[in-house]
């Protein structure tokens, strides 16, 4: 039953090639969706273009549904998949810093990769900055160990938080996504008129 131990099946090199292939598809989809262009990404924050919201939330809902269904059908062992443990406070602080970095720099890490790969100079500068920021974190994390491990909740999921069945959360998240698409479309028309 899935997920599989691909390193055991294909060896270390084989496993790396699987990751290379997954990454290839990821990069291809990002670039094809226009995410190598910082102007399209930044326009999300001015309600002018909704590509980021639409791609991201469509992807989350589709993946969530497929995981839910394949688990229900007994094809996928949900306990075998990796759920990132929650560290609440560093997650919030890091998220806000990244939001600021996003609007100033125009990319997130994955999108800066496809931007740099298509020779966009702003993407390359962003990536260089990312190197500096990540190295700085590695050098200074010793001083913030307590904060970096604060708000630890383990593998904590929305169904556990809300105390409802997983299926209910899947339904709610799908509704949330749909609601956001409609709301932001409406907002864009209010701010920029009917002109596309």
């Amino acid at each position: 039953m899935a997920p599989f131990d691909i390193a055991g099946l294909f060896g270390e090199t084989g496993a790396y090639l699987v990751y290379l292939a997954i990454g290839f598809c990821f990069g291809f989809i990002l670039e094809s969706s226009g995410f190598g262009d910082s102007r399209i990404l930044a326009a999300q924050f001015y309600f002018r273009r909704l590509n980021v919201l639409k791609v991201m939330f469509t992807a989350i809902v589709v993946a969530m549904l497929l995981i839910f269904w394949s688990t229900a059908l007994g094809l996928l062992d949900y306990n075998g998949i990796w759920v990132k443990p929650t560290y609440l406070w560093p997650g919030i602080a890091g998220g806000i810093i990244m939001g600021v970095g996003f609007i100033l720099g125009g990319y997130c890490p994955g999108t800066s990769l496809v931007s740099a790969a298509t020779l966009k100079i702003d993407g390359m500068f962003f990536l260089l900055g990312f190197f500096i920021g990540a190295i700085f974190f590695g050098e200074t994390v010793e001083y913030i160990q307590r904060f970096w491990h604060s708000g630890y909740l383990g593998e904590f999921t929305l169904p556990e938080l809300l105390g409802v069945e997983t299926g209910v959360v899947v339904f709610l998240v799908a509704c949330l996504a749909l609601g956001m698409f409609l709301f932001f479309e409406w907002l864009r028309r209010v701010v920029y008129g009917v002109r596309k």
């Binding site: 599989f4 997954i22 290839f24 989809i29 226009g34 001015y46 939330f57 589709v62 806000i96």
Partner: protein, 176 residues
């Protein structure tokens, strides 16, 4: 902005989203975890650090876990995924004639200004992504799809930071 031309150039976002969702599912289904980017980029940065100042890397606990002693920070699935992202992005751009040395910037600023802000934003993103233990791919997309509470909170924090500052820096992106 000549949005009409650009609209036809890129995929419809819902189609891109569905394909990305299927890929994200396949990643969980096949290898047991989602997509990632920042962790791999970080490992490349640490590898460079390890080339220049290996003794220092051995003495710094957080990065010594990746590159201390004989450890090779590049022997990790995330690094291969990042290599794949670069290749996939390049291939997509090549097919559509978008591989071209240029700078994307708002209509009111020069490329030089754009580079400075891209660099500054990158620094913040690099620091923040390590602090939050993941980026838009690893936390928001992957954690979001498996309904991790931390990932959902993270996602809204990113949007809060972005939307909170957007109005003040609108000159960077908006038309006059």
């Amino acid at each position: 902005m000549n949005t009409l031309v650009e609209k036809t150039r890129y995929w419809n976002p819902y189609i891109g989203g569905v394909l990305l969702g299927i890929l994200l599912f396949l990643s969980f289904f096949l290898v047991g975890h989602g997509l990632g980017a920042s962790g791999g980029v970080h490992r490349v940065a640490v590898a460079i650090e390890d080339l220049v100042i290996p003794e220092h890397v051995d003495r710094t606990p957080y990065i010594a876990k990746m590159a201390g002693g004989e450890r090779n920070p590049l022997s990790h699935w995330l690094v291969w995924e990042v290599a794949g992202i670069l290749l996939g992005g390049f291939a997509s751009g090549l097919l559509r004639g978008r591989v071209r040395l240029q700078t994307y910037h708002g209509p009111q600023i020069t490329p030089g200004t754009r580079w400075a802000f891209a660099l500054a934003g990158g620094v913040l993103m690099g620091y923040g992504a390590r602090l939050a233990r993941g980026c838009t791919s690893g936390q928001a997309l992957s954690g979001g799809a498996v309904m991790s509470v931390g990932s959902w909170v993270f996602m809204f924090a990113v949007f809060a930071g972005g939307y909170g500052l957007a109005w003040f820096v609108r000159r960077l992106w908006q038309e006059a």
